[in-house]
Symmetry: C2
């Protein structure tokens, strides 16, 4: 299957060398697609809706921090801005942090480190993820918050006077041309972010590619996927007792196994919510139409419901 | 019903004059209880568990921004630190912002405002909530982020050289002794935060008071409350298909109407969650035992479940 992948345009949440960039690169291959940074979640969604990008790679949840509310709010699409955007895949990226220094500063590496780093740069969230190393070796060292881990690597790459170090990924180190002084400095080895791969369902380019799961291209694709996941959003009328339970029952009735539920405020009325239900099924002849039938039933008990896409489970 | 309210100790999320302080003051009365600021959510929970406070008033969700994850994470209580803490009430506070200036700076008020303010202070979240006024009257004026809206009011109260203004509540204006130059400057008039009122279920002090709903003290308490709300947390084994649906079905089976569902990572295994289910019932002889029975059933289909308390709905 040889696709014209060189022309694929993949939006990610910038800046360059961010974890989203890494997820996009690993999903689509570093050379075969144009990876396009976007300054905000909304920009990436807009680019996809306007067909300025073929796919978008967006963080959806982290195993430690939970759901990414900006992504849920854009998927909620309260103003019908992104009506052609759907999920077509997912990608799991384990978050590994490294201690990065300007090229050549410490030629003998971490073993020969002499304690001379005077300033540290990283995104505010990363400090808390590397507490063990920081408390053991960098007590009292000045810490400077920056807008992204990648930005910290960039600052360190350009430093001439200070002895600075950044906490960022190996991917960012390679991108900005700095040295990895010590790797895997995170406290939790299992901190993983799940990214959604989105596409514009009306775009001819991606339809022709039939790329439901771009990141399995070139790999042995299993004949029958273990699990197909589906994401559905809906709102209910809370003044009707049992309305939420009835909506959730529909999934069970069609053999769709609920795996997660998220909620965001509807912003139409206070204390009314948009629900995001993720469900899975092992494909069979019997449940081929399960999602379609569930949506039909949901329309009767919800104020609105929306099919946000179906894709292959990358864990199952 | 005369209670020794003067001795009540109520923990709130500080600093003083925060929205939590205001919620605590309005729930418990400004003079009849000792209101104690706590620097973090965890400190407030600890104070309650250690019986250094009788109640705690903690933000739970906002009608625009959604759930407060710090509160959910503490209610999840993954390390059994707060096992006696339960919800006993709720309080809704509508968030009104004011433009605050040092006392006497603008004696003719907003009508006579001459455009001389050179610097604005507020919490980062508040800028976005007052965009209309800011874009109309304060384009290009320097903005300084501060750790709380109350802190901004404090800074302005002490200013001598600059012409600064803070965006904060009227409550903060009164506390810090500054003038309200313009009130209700928020874009959305309906931005409301729901606070939970927590107590230590083993504390004799609060048990004697029988204060399930402290903020209705002194008001005409309805003979029969319209709705009783209950919060229950649980985790399920996701490898069992249908486990989540089965757990949610139990609420319906006992006549408990699901009103909201929140999730947080379990932090035991990636992509496993702790669910927080809020449900309501109109009290009747038939459903007196409904919560108790639902919990009994939940124990059979969940890895753990916990009763986080029952209280009177303040909206219904």
């Amino acid at each position: 299957m040889n696709m014209p992948l060189g022309h694929l345009r993949v939006a990610f949440l910038g800046p360059r060398a961010s974890f989203s960039h890494q997820a996009a690169a690993e999903s689509f291959g570093r050379t075969s697609a144009d990876l396009l940074p976007h300054v905000s979640f909304a920009d990436a969604f807009s680019a996809l809706q306007q067909q300025e990008a073929d796919y978008a790679v967006i963080p959806f949840e982290n195993s430690t921090n939970g759901s990414v509310v900006q992504t849920l709010d854009l998927l909620a699409d309260r103003n019908d801005l992104y009506k052609d955007v759907k999920v077509c895949g997912e990608y799991y990226l384990t978050v590994h942090h490294c201690l990065l220094v300007r090229k050549g500063t410490y030629p003998s590496g971490w073993e020969g480190y002499d304690g001379s780093i005077t300033k540290l740069y990283t995104h505010p969230q990363a400090w808390g993820q590397c507490e063990q190393l920081l408390s053991q070796y960098f007590k009292g060292v000045e810490r400077q918050d920056v807008s992204s881990t990648s930005k910290g690597a960039e600052i360190v790459s350009k430093e001439t006077e200070e002895r600075g170090a950044a906490i960022a990924s190996r991917f960012a180190a390679e991108y900005h041309g700095v040295d990895v002084l010590k790797e895997n400095i995170e406290d939790r080895a299992d901190n993983t972010t799940r990214f959604l791969i989105l596409r514009n369902m009306r775009a001819e380019r991606t339809a022709q590619l039939e790329l439901e799961q771009p990141n399995v291209l070139g790999q042995d694709r299993p004949a029958a996927p273990t699990t197909r996941k589906t994401l559905i959003s809906f709102a209910i009328d809370h003044s009707l007792p049992g309305a939420l339970a009835n909506a959730l029952l529909i999934f069970k009735a069609h053999g769709l196994n609920l795996t997660s539920i998220n909620t965001r405020p509807s912003l139409k009325r206070a204390w009314q919510y948009i629900f995001f239900v993720e469900c899975g099924r092992t494909p069979s002849d019997e449940n081929k139409e399960a999602v379609h039938k569930a949506l039909d039933d949901l329309r009767h008990v919800t104020e609105f419901c929306r099919d946000l896409g179906t894709w292959n489970d990358q864990l199952g």
